[in-house]
């Protein structure tokens, strides 16, 4: 009797495993090989995935959360080639879909500022067809994001577009102004869309603005310091905590250099942007949480060093003026 009971348990367990394997396999890979109840299995998988993700978010929020994360969304065209899509712009569309998902994850995690590298100034060197397609996506999707997305309407995400927008076509500029105006009063997460952008252009523009302010008398040349320069950047703060680049390339490609060189935690992910998953995000966050204490220590040590160095400069300047006075006949 006992043996029969055990055999029944094994049978039940085996049947359960088979059913679960069918649901997961059909739900995840059902597109390639459609089997019965494909839609229902996919719905179950998506539901369970959502719940697991919410649980993971709750777990991650027990530790420190970064304030500002930057993404270099690289690999859309290579993803399109890999997935045998008709045109590279389909890859960019897949990239936009992934962006909205990543923004949801960041919002759930409590990240306050997200900066994304949408279009570089030197991307205008691409073919006219591709640039046209990208401009079309920017025009339509920015408007759509500002009007219809849950992120903006429910969670109050604020959209800012950063870069040399005078290089953009008029219709894209209109969409940008519309999106910024519509979300100006929002108090949720800030999304900085860098388009068209290059960090060297940002720094040289900040220098030019500083010089213009000196011309106008807003400040004197002697008052120019790092803080004054940083205030005039297009993305002035807060400090970038994490910089993520997808597609396995290991360079900055002229994105947020000023912000990244201040101890931002850098992660190069070996997956194309449309393939970037919550698992990658969670992994990056866990490793940042482990490193965050060391990063803070180094930043504090750097700040102490700067104060000592500036104190030294002040002492030197005071002592040199004493010497000068000593050389003259003082009244």
């Amino acid at each position: 009797m006992l043996q029969l009971q055990f055999q029944s348990w094994y049978a039940y367990a085996g049947l359960t495993v088979l059913i679960l394997a069918y649901i997961v396999g059909n739900g995840v890979y059902g597109r390639q090989l459609p089997l019965p109840l494909n839609k229902q299995c996919a719905a179950v998988c998506i539901y369970v995935q959502g719940k697991v993700r919410l649980l993971a978010v709750r777990v991650l929020r027990q530790g420190p959360i970064p304030q500002h994360v930057g993404f270099i969304m690289d690999g859309n065209r290579r993803f399109a080639k890999k997935a045998h899509m008709e045109t590279p712009s389909k890859g960019h569309l897949a990239g936009f879909t992934k962006l909205t998902k990543v923004l949801e994850w960041c919002n759930d995690l409590g990240i306050k500022h997200v900066s994304v590298f949408a279009f570089a100034i030197n991307n205008f060197n691409r073919s006219a067809e591709e640039v046209g397609a990208l401009m079309g996506i920017a025009r339509d999707k920015l408007r759509d994001l500002a009007e219809n997305s849950e992120l903006v309407n429910k969670y109050g995400v604020r959209i800012r577009v950063v870069g040399s927008r005078e290089l953009l076509p008029a219709d894209v500029r209109e969409s940008i102004e519309y999106a910024e105006e519509k979300t100006r009063g929002n108090l949720g997460m800030t999304l900085n869309v860098c388009c068209p952008y290059s960090a060297t252009d940002e720094i040289s523009t900040a220098i030019r603005r500083l010089v213009e302010d000196v011309e106008k008398g807003v400040l004197s040349a002697a008052d120019i310091d790092e803080a004054a320069l940083e205030k005039r950047l297009q993305i002035p703060g807060p400090d970038l905590d994490i910089l993520v680049r997808t597609s396995g390339q290991i360079r900055f490609s002229n994105f947020m250099l000023w912000q990244s060189a201040k101890m931002a935690y850098i992660q190069f992910v070996d997956a194309y942007w449309p393939e970037f998953s919550f698992y990658h995000m969670a992994r990056i966050l866990v490793s940042w949480q482990l490193a965050s204490r060391d990063i803070e220590k180094r930043k504090l040590a750097g700040a102490v060093h700067d104060r000592l160095a500036s104190g030294e400069q002040l002492r030197n300047s005071v002592s040199s003026s004493d010497t000068y006075c000593g050389d003259r006949t003082c009244e």
Binding site: I203, S204, K262
Partner: protein, 276 residues
């Protein structure tokens, strides 16, 4: 009756808060477990890397060892390997973990003197390069310049007419980054005030021209971050624009020389698209 209703609501709220606290506590434990698992995974990866690197040649030994036959053969093998790489960086930068600058009494001048002394004493400065001449190394930190090696330099040699050095080593500090950009802004503001420049002419090429280093390079092609922490510690930001960044920690690489070799090997296969 209303008092009983309020008491019920308060009790439900307290139960919910207690339940939330328990959930948060469990989640915090799970997070700690995830951190531990991650540390174990990373340590295991580092151990595997270390075990693999035991079999590699020790670049540090090749650079600093005496000229024995065996070492000469290994050096030739390394030189042939480096020559065979499809692409090599012209300007290579190494970021070392904060050492001398932040330590008490440390300064860039101290580092400069120390490195200059070691270069003069090392056998690297006496070795013959592929064109049959002894390697000449120029070391500078923006204020001081020193030459090592070479067989045709004496106190009266006018260095401005000499052949360019085989290797140009620049020592950079935080001062070459953000403070340099602030100084440049002050200089341009001063020129604008004197009427020698207009603010409208300040653009990217204008700023880039002012930030070229003493060896004439705008920015490194390859930056090796030799640190366990994957962060750029105040490295001159302008100079990072198109650099490949290769990170390897002291826990993983056998030595700085081996780390550099891994960086060159990684650089050999990269594809630069320049935005296209």
């Amino acid at each position: 009756m209303s008092g009983n209703g309020e008491h019920e609501v308060t009790s439900k709220t307290t139960k919910r808060n207690a339940w939330q606290q328990v959930c948060d506590g469990v989640c915090a434990l799970v997070l700690r477990a995830a951190h531990l698992a991650f540390i174990i995974h990373r340590s295991f990866q580092a151990w595997v890397q270390n075990s693999l690197s035991q079999a590699e040649l020790d670049v540090q030994e090749l650079l600093q060892g005496d000229d024995t036959e065996e070492l000469s053969e290994k050096r030739q093998h390394l030189a042939d390997f480096l020559q065979s790489l499809p692409q090599r960086p012209k300007h290579f930068a190494v970021i070392l973990p904060e050492a001398n600058e932040c330590s008490e009494g440390g300064s860039l001048k101290t580092s400069f003197d120390e490195i200059a002394y070691r270069l003069r004493k090392s056998s690297m400065a006496q070795r013959v390069t592929t064109n049959g001449r002894v390697a000449r190394i120029c070391l500078e930190d923006g204020k001081h310049v020193e030459y090592s090696g070479g067989d045709d330099i004496d106190a009266d040699t006018d260095l401005s007419f000499e052949r360019p050095p085989t290797l140009h080593v620049s020592l950079w500090s935080r001062d070459n980054g953000y403070p340099a950009l602030a100084r440049l802004a002050r200089e341009l503001a001063g020129q604008d005030e004197c009427g020698r420049l207009s603010s409208g002419s300040i653009d990217e090429p204008c700023v880039a021209a002012k930030l070229v280093d003493a060896a004439g390079h705008e920015h490194p092609d390859l930056v090796l971050l030799y640190d366990n922490l994957v962060c750029i510690p105040d490295f001159p930001p302008w100079q990072l624009q198109n650099s490949e960044v290769f990170q390897v920690g002291s826990a993983t690489a056998r030595s700085l020389g081996n780390a550099a070799l891994s960086a060159f090997t990684s650089y050999a296969n990269i594809e630069k698209r320049w935005g296209k």
